[in-house]
């Protein structure tokens, strides 16, 4: 947009102010409901599992399991808020993990010690960062310039990225990373796993970015209405490119945690996470049409999913039953929303 259109922005200040206030007040989420559900789940599992559930060990293992899915869900949440979707998150994370694993397993001299190992780990991390930056820029560029729905674009990039990973690795997995990397990922500080700490900091960062920065407000705005955002003088293409760059960089963080926890990297790892990240985001109150959604809701949803998973695990149920219950939870939450919506509408019309 050229500078002559700048004054127009003042004309929309009032609605924008409304939007900012609404964002900060948490409009469009059902955080209370989610927290109540979380509390209910905690109570149920505490009654069913009086000895094992509310234990530091259980809580700690929950904190170990949450971060990967959490970071990937954040990577899905940002595009969702912008009115898009990134189906390539798992493929991106896997490719970044493969590149980092390739550097650590084949390029690093096997007799490297101490500081040298850390240097190589840093090189691997930087390489992964650049790769994800590149993927994000390309994806964002295609979404912004071609103007096709992001589902289509990321369906293409997902197939392409995954295809390259499979082609280059011949479907093999890479493993055997330096002990230093593995050790750090299993380390705890005051009983809290480092990976969980990273997740909390990143989630906080994404929360601040989405609610308190100009870019964040613009991401919400293009999610509400791309055309009118463009006509109010926002460079929507730049915002869209940022959305996919941020999403891909979150995949890079998830890739680091994933490769350290599994001690392996491969083209086909964690494919089942893709739909679960969407499930978590929707459960957390992020509007699939874009424009609304908060990180707090998403974190609450992730905690709910993790609680169900850990509780079922302790009760001795199979993982598949957990997945089924996650699906039921999503349907139940949507039904509750619908019913309360109908109820509120009737109440107001009186």
């Amino acid at each position: 947009m050229n500078s002559s259109e700048q004054p127009r922005i003042s004309a929309i200040t009032t609605p924008l102010d409304h939007m900012v206030t609404a964002l900060r007040a948490g409009a469009g989420t059902n955080l209370t409901g989610l927290l109540l559900l979380l509390l209910a789940l905690f109570s149920v599992f505490s009654v069913l599992l009086p000895v094992t559930f509310l234990q530091p060990g259980t809580m700690q293992s929950m904190m170990f399991q949450l971060p990967e899915l959490g970071l990937l869900s954040l990577a899905m949440a940002i595009p969702l808020v912008s009115g898009g979707l990134n189906l390539a998150i798992i493929a991106t994370a896997n490719q970044a993990a493969l590149l980092m694993a390739w550097i650590l397993t084949t390029q690093m001299p096997p007799d490297a010690t101490g500081g040298e190992v850390w240097l190589w780990i840093a090189i691997a991390f930087v390489a992964g960062f650049i790769l994800c930056l590149f993927i994000g820029l390309i994806t964002g560029f295609i979404v912004a310039v071609v103007g096709v729905h992001p589902i289509l674009v990321t369906l293409g990039t997902q197939t392409l990225i995954g295809g390259f990973s499979i082609w280059l690795t011949r479907g093999q997995t890479l493993s055997g990373f330096p002990d230093a990397l593995i050790r750090v990922s299993n380390e705890t500080i005051a009983g809290i796993p480092i990976s969980f700490g990273i997740f909390v900091i990143v989630a906080l960062g994404v929360h601040i970015l989405l609610t308190r920065t100009v870019l964040g407000i613009h991401i919400h705005m293009i999610g509400s209405n791309l055309e009118s955002t463009r006509f109010s003088g926002v460079n929507t293409r730049r915002v869209q490119i940022w959305v996919y760059v941020l999403s891909s960089l979150l995949c890079w963080l998830a890739a680091i945690l994933m490769m350290a926890r599994f001690n392996s990297a491969g083209a086909d790892i964690a494919q089942s996470y893709l739909l679960i990240t969407i499930l978590a985001a929707i459960l957390g109150g992020i509007d699939p049409y874009g424009g609304f959604g908060r990180v707090t809701g998403l974190v609450a949803a992730l905690l709910i999913l993790q609680t169900i998973s850990s509780g079922f695990n302790l009760l001795g149920f199979s993982q598949h039953l957990t997945l089924a219950l996650w699906g039921f939870t999503l349907v139940a939450v949507m039904a509750t929303k619908r019913l309360t919506g109908v109820f509120v509408a009737r109440y107001r019309s009186r």
Binding site: M1, G147, G156, T159, L160, G163, L275, L279, A324, V331
Partner: protein, 334 residues
């Protein structure tokens, strides 16, 4: 020249057809086996399941929805039909009918949830797909069924042709079912009242309901039809591989969706044709087969599909926008 380019690439069907002709010419020059009847027949059979599913997904896409539970539905119906056939010795027709009816029923569950919860179908089907699939694995323990009855696994050949070179081309059951599904879907979408209504619903749901289209009934038809075809596809898939593996169809959702979209069905709804979807499948099938015959590593195939999707959507969208731009004032261009 530019006009010809625009005329070809502004329609998905024509641009796909042109690309297919070019690709076929390139491959037939480079491999003598490519343009043979038996190769063509094998190719069509190999893609029969994908085409059957893509036909159902196409109907849902035209209506403005996205369904990704069809792979889970196909796995569930396939498994239950196989269990009934193996344990209780159910004959062919009742077993197939059971698979299709069950598929249609699960599809209707999707339709009811979408309608009454008033949420986009992609979310409903993400939830139901997790539920169907997880319950299937839970109750079966993931165990395969190998001892399918003979009527299920025996190859049915309708027509057999021996060419001069000694190659044998067969018209088999999956091809016939696929052809029937494509024809019926084409007639449903372009020649019937319901088909017109599905296009109207996808084009503008609000307007569709204002002119008196019964949305719920239509959605039951749309998602029920996809479920029905998923049941059929599950049957054909087991017929081809001679066994039922609960996880076999899982993970095919996105590739079938990609094929339908490549064929011109729009995610926003209201657009696309059965012919375009068939051409989309054909293009991918020809690319895979041709690259195979040229000795390109099968590992490279996903790279080709990904590029095909990206190039196809980019060319179609950019051409369309340029043509719109010529007619309109320079409006949206930033």
């Amino acid at each position: 020249m530019r006009k010809i380019f625009d005329a070809i690439f502004s329609h998905t069907e024509t641009s796909l057809a042109v690309v297919i002709v070019i690709v076929v010419m390139v491959f037939s020059f480079s491999s003598p086996y490519f343009l043979t009847l038996s190769n063509a027949a094998d190719l069509i059979e190999a893609y029969s399941v994908t085409t059957i599913l893509a036909a159902g997904v196409f109907v849902v896409l035209v209506s403005g929805g996205i369904d990704i539970s069809f792979a889970a539905v196909a796995s569930v119906t396939q498994y239950i039909a196989a269990m009934v056939a193996v344990k209780y010795g159910a004959p062919a027709l009742p077993a197939i009918a059971l698979a299709c009816a069950l598929g249609a029923l699960l599809g209707c569950v999707n339709a009811l949830l979408t309608y009454y919860l008033n949420v986009v179908s992609i979310i409903v089907t993400i939830a139901t797909s997790s539920i169907f699939y997880a319950l299937l694995i839970y109750f079966t323990g993931g165990s395969e069924i190998y001892n399918l009855p003979d009527w299920w696994t025996d190859r049915v050949v309708f027509f057999r042709l021996e060419t001069a070179t000694g190659d044998i081309a067969r018209v088999t059951l999956p091809m016939v079912i696929m052809a029937a599904v494509v024809t019926i879907t084409h007639i449903l979408m372009s020649r019937t009242h319901a088909g017109r209504q599905i296009y109207a619903l996808g084009g503008n749901p609000e307007a569709a309901s204002r002119v008196g289209i019964r949305i719920l009934r239509l959605q039951l038809l749309i998602y029920g039809y996809l479920g029905f075809l998923a049941g059929l596809a599950g049957f054909v898939q087991a017929h081809r591989v001679h066994q039922v593996v609960p996880t076999a169809m899982f993970g095919t959702e996105l590739s079938v969706l990609a094929v339908a979209i490549l064929g011109g069905a729009s995610l926003v709804g209201g657009l696309g044709s059965m012919g375009g979807v068939v051409l989309g499948v054909l293009l991918l099938a020809i690319l895979q087969n041709g690259l195979n015959l040229l000795g390109v590593s099968p590992y490279f195939f996903d790279v080709v599909i990904g590029l095909a999707i990206l190039i196809s959507i980019s060319v179609t969208s950019l051409t369309e926008r340029r043509m719109r731009g010529q007619r309109r004032l320079v409006g949206a261009a930033t």
